[in-house]
Symmetry: C2
Subunit: 199 residues, 2 copies
């Protein structure tokens, strides 16, 4: 099963981060189960206890939360080859304040939280895998926080175009705006302005 094509991307992701032998790799992969998620489906809601870590094989997942005024804030987007989960609740096992939604018809490989933590006990290299995962999540977060605190809407949009053009290419304006923490109207104004400007 773990030799199936659907595991290839995950296998490569793991091999990039840690050294494991064939037996350990199969032990890791057999805890990940393929799952289809239909476009727009929400698989984790605020208030729920998050039990799943997802690896995106095809499609796109987004993590967002909802402000008191109903506005959505998109905090993270995962495309092919990336992990995504409501990480705070996954770690603490307190109720999630985040939602997880498929933005396209998506195929994920899912591992249950118990299995994920079990792997930490039986495969020492999995500790390094999780450590690197958490370090990346931390860097990603602090970068967003720093960007939103120090950069204006235009700088944030230009940076996204440069570093993560896939976000603008694959997702609707409404989601891109909520990822950059600006209104869709501001994003549209940015887009017009930047297209008009000489490079």
């Amino acid at each position: 099963m773990e030799h199936a094509a659907v595991y290839q991307r995950l296998r490569e992701n793991i091999e990039k981060t840690i050294s494991v032998n064939q037996e350990q790799m199969e032990l890791i992969l057999q805890h990940f189960k393929p799952q289809k998620i239909e476009k727009n489906s929400i698989t984790l809601r605020a208030g729920e206890y998050n039990q799943w870590m997802n690896f995106v094989d095809q499609g796109c997942l987004r993590i967002f939360f909802i402000k008191d005024d109903g506005q959505e804030v998109t905090r993270y987007l995962a495309f092919e080859g990336m992990f995504a989960t409501g990480l705070a609740s996954f770690i603490t096992q307190e109720p999630s304040f985040e939602y997880l939604q498929a933005m396209e018809n998506t195929v994920v490989l899912q591992i249950n939280r118990n299995d994920f933590y079990y792997l930490l006990h039986i495969i020492p290299a999995w500790e390094k895998f999780f450590r690197d995962y958490l370090a990346d999540a931390y860097i990603n977060n602090i970068t967003i926080y720093h960007r939103e605190t120090t950069k204006d809407a235009e700088e944030r949009y230009r940076e996204l175009l440069k570093k993560d053009p896939i976000v603008v290419q694959r997702l609707p304006n409404r989601i891109v705006a909520s990822y950059l923490n600006m209104s869709p109207e501001t994003l549209s104004r940015m887009k017009r302005k930047i297209l008009d400007l000489p490079k």
Copy 2:
């Protein structure tokens, strides 16, 4: 040396998180060196490569960054028994965008980054220690981001009074305001308002 009183708090912090034998504990502690930092001294500046992890034995450290308009944003405060470092640069070894400053006359136990990472190789439990450290840093960050995005100034101040009163007790208004991402004037208004209100 590692039996000195200055190591007691650090020893307890480590024992709370991981199981290590006496030999491993001494190996860990001997890489931490006591260091005095005078009040207001800055030991890490934006643009520098952060080489140090600090454990606060006495005093207080703060991590902040400076916006283009010169305004400081306090991102993290560490009192006795807490670790503090410019974590993004510590992990990535890219230039820091954060500053580290002593808010009081402070005694820290410092470990060099190379030694910290060396411990990961020789003491398996140190992986769990760092993993838990990163998880806490992630949770702390996402909580601040969520709070600032969803809660107004008064809610943020009330939450701080409830969860972290030490911040208000030990630090000047200017720093508390920059920690809550509000102006000192707004903070003063909050304080007056909350003192006037019945509980």
